[in-house]
């Protein structure tokens, strides 16, 4: 049997994503910087730039419902998270150690579900970077 083929030019990967607000991306980046910090410090800025670009592409194609859920989760974690851990001030303005502390507390609080949503998407994207994939020992040709 012959395969289906598309008539026209609507290659799904060439489609333009919906623009994502800079505020949301900045908050997600602040979370990612703390989330993926190692004992040596935060991830390289270039890795976070890559993550930011991927996040825009991911959310831009994900549909309005997914954007809403992710956005609401990021705002919940970054606005309420500092309060849960007894800190004042915006999440992004906290230093790295303080942000890690906030996320640790959030993971054990009533905000654990929104954090799971944020963490899942950031992790899936972050660990697809070739260097990050190598870091976790992912060498399967098909899955990485």
């Amino acid at each position: 049997m012959k395969r289906l083929e598309l008539v026209g030019k609507s290659d799904v990967r060439a489609r333009e994503p919906v623009p994502i607000g800079d505020g949301l991306v900045a908050r997600a980046r602040a979370v990612a910087e703390a989330m993926f910090a190692t004992d040596e410090g935060p991830p390289p800025p270039k890795r976070l730039d890559w993550l930011e670009k991927e996040l825009r592409g991911f959310l831009g194609h994900a549909g309005s419902s997914a954007r809403f859920v992710f956005g609401a989760s990021v705002y919940a974690v970054t606005l309420l998270g500092p309060l849960v851990s007894g800190r004042l001030g915006g999440f992004a303005s906290l230093d790295l150690e303080a942000r890690k502390h906030v996320l640790e507390r959030v993971e054990k609080s009533f905000l654990s579900t929104p954090l799971l949503g944020v963490k899942a998407i950031l992790c899936i994207l972050y660990f697809e970077h070739p260097d990050a994939a190598r870091f976790i020992g992912a060498n399967g040709a098909c899955l990485t």
């Binding site: 194609h61 419902s65 799971l116 994207l125 870091f135 020992g137």
Partner: protein, 509 residues
């Protein structure tokens, strides 16, 4: 070449006519489209998602597959009510539907379920003998075969050995594959064309016999003329950034809904088809699924091998089915608790992790509600009996892994640290709040269930919506109860049975 058109390539209002319009190109819609087209009917298939040739899947990372082919990039939730976890509900949104994204697992309806359909739901014709020829037809068309033991991943082999030591017999799964090399990325579209999803089987056959397939086309409602369906209306997704744009109007002599359990009930409601039963959008079952991850001293690299290859139904009488699976390393890393250095240290253990899953044969309690936009809202209230099974399921899986030397178990509880054997056995699962339990589902069923009477069901045993003419539902929403096993094959079989009747039923003039 067998052409698929995209709504994005049209710039103006589109008006089409056909004998049969099929809304949705997934497992059930493709079967009906193929059967009707081969019988000589003029068939039009409308699909909200894009068309992605299978050769493109190998070039996509999992996150790219998620964003382009999964509904809402898999960020889709059934909100738990009461003592129920929130459930990550995943569905396909692509030509071929969820069949493109499943592990390809094929089960027939367990006889006990058919018995229940006959005795509790009154559908006397649901016998193994009645369904046998339709099962055979589908199994031949999509090449259902047993997964050989040598194709099992080490993750699955470890679990199967551990289960055997605990007295649990595991069996080989069957999948719709041919020439599978066990690269383990079935959930993100088979890059080798080895998983025979409907975009590689039924849809090309349908198109070969003249069926037209239009992707990127969102159907809003069924056009009703009195009690008779005469077409559908919707929008081509040709607006800015793929938003609904030009109007599409389809005149059809028969309308077949195959939009899935989350969308078909909304389509009916939007079209003013509520039925007298009040059951549209209710009775949703989901097979709540839970995973257990085990850390070993030696490398497991569970992504090498068939993604799904073995199952255990020894606990079926209690309502549990054990099922092998694996997920990409990046997704597996996302399940590790902790943040910062703690998360990163655990993520480095990914090659040493094994994974197994289990589903609960649930009693229902799900409901589809209209959302503010075009997406539905799903809620789910777990039955008390089902809720009580979660700790039992996690314990069964954990003990099987410990029986083969697992060092630690990661339980599906948010923020919970890994547990060694002593800590695992002492862990108070029963006191964990439902909100803290990770749960996922790929099998929404039953939102337009079939039955014998209009007072208790949405469609009759041949998929016809009660008290309408020329309006049929064929997708997973008609399945009367949960199955306890992966539903793809059953959905296709029920659709085949309906399609055989439809092709012999003259169209309305």
């Amino acid at each position: 070449m067998i052409p698929v058109q995209s709504g994005r390539d049209h710039t103006e209002r589109l008006e089409l006519s056909c004998d049969v319009v099929v809304v949705g190109s997934g497992a059930s819609g493709a079967v009906v489209a193929c059967t009707m087209a081969e019988a000589g009917y003029d068939v039009l298939v409308l699909e909200e998602g894009p068309f992605v040739p299978y050769t493109d899947y190998g070039a996509m990372r999992p996150s790219e597959s998620l964003r382009y082919t999964w509904r809402g990039a898999a960020v889709t939730v059934a909100y738990g009510l009461g003592d129920t976890p929130h459930i990550n509900m995943t569905m396909g949104r692509v030509v071929g539907g969820s069949s493109v994204l499943t592990g390809g697992v094929c089960f027939r309806v367990p006889p006990s379920i058919l018995h229940r359909w006959r005795t509790e739901r009154g559908i006397a014709e649901m016998t193994e003998e009645e369904l046998e020829p339709y099962y055979q037809e589908v199994e031949t068309a999509v090449h259902v075969e047993e997964v050989p033991e040598e194709m099992r991943s080490r993750s699955t082999k470890l679990f199967v050995l551990g289960a055997a030591r605990r007295g649990i017999e595991m069996r080989p799964m069957k999948r719709n594959t041919e020439g599978c090399n066990g690269c383990g990325r079935c959930n993100f579209g088979c890059p080798h064309g080895a998983k025979l999803s409907v975009d590689l089987t039924y849809l090309p056959r349908a198109a070969h016999h003249g069926a037209r397939i239009l992707a990127d086309c969102l159907v809003d409602r069924v056009t009703m003329k009195g009690d008779r369906a005469v077409g559908v209306t919707g929008r081509l997704l040709n607006g800015k950034h793929g938003k609904p744009g030009s109007e599409v109007v389809v005149h059809a002599r028969r309308v077949v809904l195959a939009a899935g359990a989350a969308f078909t009930p909304l389509l009916l409601k939007r079209s003013g088809v509520h039925g007298v039963s009040g059951q549209v959008g209710k009775n949703v079952t989901v097979h709540p699924g839970f995973r257990t991850i085990a850390l070993f001293d030696d490398k497991v690299e569970g992504w090498k091998g068939a993604m799904q290859s073995a199952y255990g139904d020894v606990h079926d009488p209690e309502g549990l089915t054990l099922t092998s699976l694996f997920i990409p390393p990046a997704v597996l890393a996302a399940t590790m608790p902790g943040v910062g250095p703690e998360l990163m240290r655990r993520a480095q253990n990914v090659p040493y992790l094994a994974l197994f899953g289990g589903i609960i044969h649930d009693e229902g309690g799900g409901r589809v509600w209209p959302g503010l936009g075009r997406e539905p809202i799903l809620t789910y209230r777990m039955a008390r009996h089902d809720r009580a099974l979660i700790p039992a399921l996690v314990r069964i899986m954990g003990e099987a892994f410990f029986a083969v030397g697992a060092k630690e178990i990661y339980i599906p509880v948010l923020g919970a640290p890994p547990l060694d054997a002593d800590a695992f056995r002492a862990f108070p699962f029963e006191t964990v709040k439902a909100r803290d339990i990770e749960c996922s589902s790929q099998h929404p069923l039953g939102s337009c269930r079939m039955g014998k009477t209009r007072e208790h069901s949405v469609v009759d045993p041949l998929g016809k919506v009660w008290d309408t003419r020329e309006l049929y539902v064929v997708d997973g929403s008609i399945v009367p109860t949960s199955l306890g096993v992966n539903p793809q094959l059953t959905i296709m079989t029920l659709a085949t049975r309906i399609a055989h009747r439809l092709r012999e039923t003259p169209l309305a003039s």
